[in-house]
């Protein structure tokens, strides 16, 4: 046995274990920190569940909404545009008439500020990357930042 090589082997195996553990932890936390394919995929999957629980009854399974009542979430700047505005709609609700592609929508959307930062990030990432939409992910950190400066009602 070549004892000179032992420290290197030990060092290498420790490094391997640590990175492995780190990877595992990261996976468990769904870490959407970097927009890696894995992070995006996990966020979309989690967001789909949030959508099914809190959004589908008004915005519908195809996210095309209900004429005159609940607005569509497909190909609209409300969804694909400014992230802060979009996060605020979820946090504060939406109670004004909105016109999208010549159609007005008037139903009230309740505040969903009871959702966790991660849940809001996931559902918005899901909506921005589904139904024909394609836009960057939204992170829990971004939601947290908007929530911190959001008006207190």
């Amino acid at each position: 046995m070549d004892f000179k090589k032992a420290p290197i082997i030990i060092f290498a195996s420790v490094l391997f274990t640590v990175t492995g553990l780190q990877a595992q932890t990261r996976h468990k936390a769904k870490a959407p920190v970097k927009h890696t394919t894995v992070g995006l995929k996990a966020s979309i999957a989690a967001g789909q569940k949030v959508f099914a629980q809190y959004c589908v009854s008004c915005h519908q399974a195809d996210a095309l909404g209900v004429p005159h009542m609940n607005p569509p979430l497909v190909k609209t700047t409300y969804v694909l545009g400014d992230k802060t505005k979009l996060i605020k709609i979820v946090l504060n609700g939406f109670n004004e008439d909105v016109e999208i592609n010549g159609e007005t929508y008037s139903n009230s959307m309740a505040s969903h500020d009871f959702l966790k930062d991660q849940e809001i990030a996931d559902v918005l990432t899901f909506v921005r990357n589904s139904f024909g939409n394609k836009a960057s992910a939204i992170t829990a950190a971004q939601v947290k930042a908007v929530r911190a400066t959001n008006k207190k009602s």
């Binding site: 394919t37 979309i44 009854s57 519908q60 195809d62 008439d97 309740a110 990357n129 589904s130 394609k134």
Partner: protein
Amino acid sequence: MKNRKLLSALLPVAAIAAFILFNACKSGGPANNGKDSLNTTTPTADGGAGLKLPAGFNAAVIADKLGGTREIAVTPQGDIYVKLNRAKNGKGILFLHQEGDKATVKTGFGTFGGTGVYVKNGYLYASSDEEVFRYKLNAQNEVISPDQPEKIVTGLLSRREHEAKAITLDNDGNLYVNIGAYSNACQVEDRKKGSPGQKGCPILDSAGGIWQFKADKLNQHYGDGVRYATGLRNVVGFDWNQQNNQLFVMQHGRDQLHDLFPDMFTTKQSAVLPAECMYALKKGDNAGWPYMYYDQEQHKKILMPEYGGDGKKEGGQDAIDPVAAFPGHLAPNGLLFYTGNQFPEKYKNGAFIAFHGSWNRAPEPQAGYFVVFQPFKDGKPSGEWEVFADGFAGTAAQTASGRAEHRPCGLAQGPDGSLYVTDDNQGTIYKITYKK
């Protein structure tokens, strides 16, 4: 890599689509589980309008692409007034003349969008979401001064939700206006999970009921009217029953039982509950919203969960019972008592109801988009209701997804006993006739 990304983005869409399709196939079109089953008469193809009707009936599309056609009135001369939900080219009311199986727009007037239109005693009445107007008619029931309506009622609450002001008149010079509640269940925060019901629901002071005004007095406000009936969340379809000399209304029941109370209601229960109720009203009646809802399967008035209910505890002890109850969320937008002689005897004095179709059944399949007949005897519902005219939505998949092509809204009876149905999605007017 890119493909994989795309695939993972599309997967949820495909899953949802498959779920809808699965549910649609499972239930064979409109929801039918147990007592929610939709009774149908033997359908036959009609004359090209794409509707399914009982044998002997025929439907013709007499006009289309008119805009958001809401309520409709047909004059003794057979001319048509129809109200648009939004004014089109500055015209909110259209006047159409019929020749054979076609109706042609002769003129448009009234700059306001809205829902209600009614012809009575030499006047055309029409409503915006805040006001009611009337126009004097000549001997041919044509509007004399389209630019100079008289304002009958003004300043009604319109807070986006349930904003449509449906109107009807009795035989004693009174006008009835629905003022819908600007809320789902009078929660402190509307439609927010966990938000409780407001004690002594303040909405009921100025909405959530039917108001009675004088049909010929100008510029009436709340103070000039009478809250004729309360505890009605939202009414669009209503009609004066000439046999009973009484007001009948169809209420749109509350939404989102599962969303707000997932521990008490499954998505399946939430899709069919609560009932869409028909009420026969007397002055001073209370139909119970927001403190109760009607469960058509338990045949009971149930305490609203926002007010401490659990889906079983009874409530609404001071509220009247409905005279008929229909499956949830079908959205009754038109009610008409048939007094004509053209249709077979069984239809006489019975009620046609235009169900606009559901949206609040998701993720369960949507349903409705049809005209129902509720038989009546001696001024009361008698026997099972049946689907009279179906096929407005298009395919079964279009019904299930809620992407209906046509959505029935307003009903009217012509001087010859023909039945008129509007569709506010594509602006179609159907005329349904019967031949022995």
